[in-house]
């Protein structure tokens, strides 16, 4: 079996290559330069240069798919990846199974798992589909010692004109490696609140994380600290959720945590259904108390 992979982010590229090792041959198409990508056993790495226009990328991939003898296509579920996959699906008239977090290859079919009903259901299905988008966290990152050759290809220009690309701030944290994560939600109320959480983070030698509104809407924390369906998938030994209501999209990113602690002033908050230990009350009173007992 031969896989065509596309990922515009390094982590997902590494995870999917680690996952596919031993299951077939694969070629990675990526916009990421990382030299470290060559250690995962890809037959080759095709570095896509030029402006990351999604139609251009999908046209390039669909040409490669037709000429390269590929069986299956795995595309990282990122902002660009989902568009590339949907355009690819439309162009080639192949059905896509989106947002999978597990896949097994049978003879002639695949069995995949994804969330439905916003995370309230896990849909396990069997199909003959050839195209998938996969969530971050598909597998651990296990580098090998190979050295894949790198080739470059230019992304063709399309009808959408890219005017400017501003780099966001570099990633400052690797939440996947954290032992303890202290996550804050909208219940924090204000950016200054972070200072009052930091003593707890320090005391447990943990990492600070947040819900989507905290990272994306209010920018109280950097975006790479967002946990959840559209953020990072984490599995720490302990996950402390402070002022997070526990919407399913958030839970999807921290479900694998060993122990979950929740602090919320609303005793009916859904997060308490997903917690091992919960404290009902104001996080600003409770956090210093926890610190005092550590």
């Amino acid at each position: 079996m031969k896989f065509l992979i596309f990922s515009d982010i390094e982590d997902s590229a590494k995870q999917v290559m680690s996952f596919l090792k031993g299951k077939g041959d694969f070629v990675l198409y990526t916009t990421e330069k990382g030299e470290s990508l060559t250690k995962y056993g890809a037959q080759k790495i095709v570095l896509l240069t030029g402006k990351p226009e999604v139609k251009g990328i999908s046209s390039l991939l669909s040409d490669e798919f037709s000429s390269g003898g590929y069986d299956l296509v795995m595309i990282a579920s990122t902002v660009l990846g989902r568009d590339v996959a949907s355009l690819f699906s439309g162009q080639k008239s192949i059905e896509v199974i989106p947002e999978i977090f597990d896949i097994k290859f049978n003879s002639g079919t695949v069995t995949t798992k994804r969330y439905g009903l916003g995370g309230k259901a896990v849909i396990e299905e069997e199909s003959k589909s050839k195209l998938f988008t996969f969530l971050s966290g598909l597998s651990d990152d296990v580098p090998g010692d190979g050295s894949s050759p790198i080739e470059t290809k230019n992304i063709p220009e399309g009808v959408v004109k890219i005017l400017a690309i501003e780099q966001k701030k570099a990633k400052e944290v690797n939440l996947e490696k954290a032992n303890i994560i202290v996550a804050v939600g909208r219940g924090l109320g204000k950016i200054e609140g972070i200072q009052q959480i930091e003593p707890l983070v320090k005391a447990v030698r943990g990492e600070l994380a947040g819900s989507r509104p905290v990272c994306l809407d209010y920018h109280w924390l950097s975006e790479d600290r967002q946990v959840g369906y559209s953020g990072r998938t984490v599995k720490p030994k302990a996950y402390v959720a402070l002022g997070i209501s526990g919407q399913i999209q958030h839970i999807a990113g921290m479900r694998g945590s060993k122990v979950v602690v929740a602090v919320n002033k609303d005793k009916n908050a859904p997060i308490f259904q997903e917690a091992d230990y919960g404290i009902v009350g104001d996080l600003y009173q409770i956090v210093p108390k926890i610190v005092s007992y550590l």
Binding site: D8, I9, P52, E53, K55, S77, V79, R82, D83, G90, V96, P98, E99, T111, Y115, G116, G118, G119, K120, A121, V122, I123, E124, E125, S127, K128, T133, V159, V160, K161, I162, L163, I165, E166, Q167, K168, V204, R205, L216, D217, Y229, P236, K237, Q249, K258, V261, F272, Q273, A275, D276, Y277, G278, V280, G281, I286, K289, I290, S292, Y293, L294
Partner: protein
């Protein structure tokens, strides 16, 4: 310059009200009320803001079931001029949804098609690109901001790493994110007016072959202890113990 806009909206079951059948472990959707999907609201809001500045007509198209009239009335209250409800939605299938929507859009006049990037229930993120392909239109996706002038539309897209500014000439398909805007709550008078407006309803006729077979659809397992403390002091002591253990 006025712009005619087609907004694609969705009704979804109220996810918070879904309970799990303890014996089959399956989520129960029967009887769960429908609501206006979150990003569909952002889409309507985006269209209304363009109309407020430039004029034009907003047509909303909803592929759902008979209960969709309630959602359409909310869309009217937010500022949609005309609503088309297509019934026959049975299950999440982005390819089918895109075909149904595109078939309808082709009969309408529009400069822009606006929809959410990833709906809160199925989260496939596929419909925008598939609709753009069906209509053979450029796709500007995951917009966090939208500007229009002289039949040109510009958006900013926030990817995981960059903010990309791009533009294209109308007509075009635009998908929006929850950061695009904050949907406004419509004034009471508009809500009353919306209740009386008619909605044209038709049955979907598009059929496609579904190649995937669902093996199981169960609630994810949660085996948490759920020890909830209302005594803050006791809770803090217990939590400190747990955290110390995790630090080892």
């Amino acid at each position: 310059m006025p712009y005619d806009i087609v907004v694609l909206i969705k009704q979804i079951p109220d996810l918070e009200l879904i309970k799990v059948n303890q014996s089959t472990e399956e989520p129960i959707t029967d009887g769960v009320p429908f609501k206006f999907e979150n990003l569909s609201k952002n889409s309507v809001e985006a269209a209304v803001r363009i109309k407020e500045k430039n004029g034009g007509k907003i047509t909303a198209v909803l592929f759902g079931n008979e209960k969709g009239t309630q959602v359409m009335k909310e869309a009217y209250a937010m500022g949609v001029d005309e609503g088309i409800l297509i019934t026959g939605y049975s299950e999440n299938n982005p390819v089918l949804t895109a075909k149904v929507l595109a078939q309808k859009i082709k009969q309408l006049h529009y400069d822009l098609v606006i929809l959410g990037n990833q709906s809160a229930d199925s989260m496939s993120g596929m419909v925008a690109g598939l609709v753009a392909t069906e209509l053979n239109l450029p796709l500007l996706s995951n917009a966090v901001s939208i500007e229009v002038a002289d039949k040109i539309v510009k958006v900013s897209t926030a990817t995981e790493k960059d903010v990309i500014k791009s533009e294209t000439t109308m007509p075009a398909v635009i998908s929006v994110t929850q950061e695009t805007n904050e949907p406004r709550f419509p004034p009471v008078l508009q809500i009353i007016k919306a209740g009386k407006k008619s909605i044209s309803t038709e049955q979907s006729t598009v059929k496609i072959e579904n190649t995937s077979k669902i093996i199981s659809k169960k609630a994810p397992k949660s085996e948490r202890k759920r020890l909830i403390f209302e005594d803050v002091d006791k809770g803090a002591q217990e939590v400190a113990k747990v955290l110390k253990e995790a630090m080892k």
